[in-house]
Amino acid sequence: MASGKRKVNRRTAIVEVARTAGAVCLGGLSLAALVRSADQADARALRPPGAQPEPDFLSACVRCGLCVQACPYGTLSLAEWGQEPAVGTPFFTPREVPCYMCRDVPCARACPTGALDRDIAISDADMGVAVLVGHEDCLNYKGMNCSICVRVCPIRGDAITLEEGEFNGRKIMVPTVHSAHCTGCGTCEKHCVTGHASIRVLPRDLGLGGDGRNRAGRAT
């Protein structure tokens, strides 16, 4: 009798545990699905200097805003609900306020979690890479000598240079970004004179091609 009762109790206990575990997994999966659906929009976010690669950054950053508050230029902000980057994470929009590449990188120094590398030298920062996206609108491509993007770049000569080229049979000076030196600070994007910036900072995986060969591209 007594042992039978215990057995029943044990069985209900096991069922209870299994149900709870099931609920935990189900809840976990739904929340994971929600989080993943936010990832897509997040892909274009530009992070503060010294940020770890995006996947590591997203698990390390606790969304405290210490980097945001440390920036003397108001470059950074924490994503609010409805904005593209993962809610609560720090990002910047160069066309509004670029990163001024402070020598002492106060934003990264303020990060308590390691999401930003506290020891980053600003010249090694990799917030993204500038890409001349608007060939049809860039004034230099039209044969003028705007070159604003080159002139404002804090590391002009290294990160961006003017290279001679030819376009529609005209000699032009092409603003050319050198990705090894460009930090993605966005000063060029900020100052580009076209209505919608013709040069824009993109995260590296969006802004650059890769080496190696695309097998699919060679098929047949």
Partner: protein, 289 residues
Amino acid sequence: MIGWWVSDSRKLAVASRGLLPAHKWWLLRRLSQVSVLGLFMLGPMAGIWLVRGNFAASDIGGMVTLADPYVLLQSLAGGAVPIAPVVVGALLILLLYLVVGGRAYCGWVCPVNIVTDTAHWLREKTGLTRDRKLDRRSRLVILGATLVASGLTGTIAWEFVNPVSLLQRGLISGIGFGWTIILAVFLLDLVVARRAWCSHLCPVGAFYGLVGRAAVIRVSAARRDACTDCGACFNICPEPHVIVPALKGEGSPLVLSGDCQNCGGCIDSCPVKVFHLSARGRGGAGQVH
């Protein structure tokens, strides 16, 4: 005359002990909630930087880093390897709540508590009584789920929805559409179930509830012999089940459940001063304040 706005559960205490004594702990913890938030808002709003950051992690006067242990736990589940400041900061906060009572976070710091308390008050004043039965252990399931989701996605999963973070961060640095989630919590507590969010669903509360199981400062029903069975404390308490063993049991008069928020509602509402704030190890006799 007792004002119409006084909640029913405090009326007996107001009548026997006066308006102020019947709201003492409530006033103190509202003051605490508002000042903690205010300290963080002073920087961005007024340029007075006594503290920086927000509830997730902060820098106190340029000297100490504090951090939310539950957020850090999710970060670890997400696979992060955090550096020392955030770890030490989270341990400090853990230590603090091991002393003052885990869910003292809920009663004394969390801004959502003001939202849900208001919903609860409005429920009473509007006579809304719909109370869908929710299991108060749901929050532990949700707590587990947030850690699973963090592991699966490699992010701090709950931070995508967490109303607590949304509200505190929102007030400090802008909220966007986050208001909708706060509104949802308010409506949930108003029309779906009594204290639906904080006492049944919130994983932050569940986390601090686990911490609270070992906490030092506890409410004591020291003068339980004087209890008149008026029910005021059960009425006001966000977690009425925690009062039963202390008030009606034979054992320790301390409210030992981790679910207790040390909010002092029971102390405020009792017309015959059964409760006071005490500490583990004092057998419920000593008075802390």
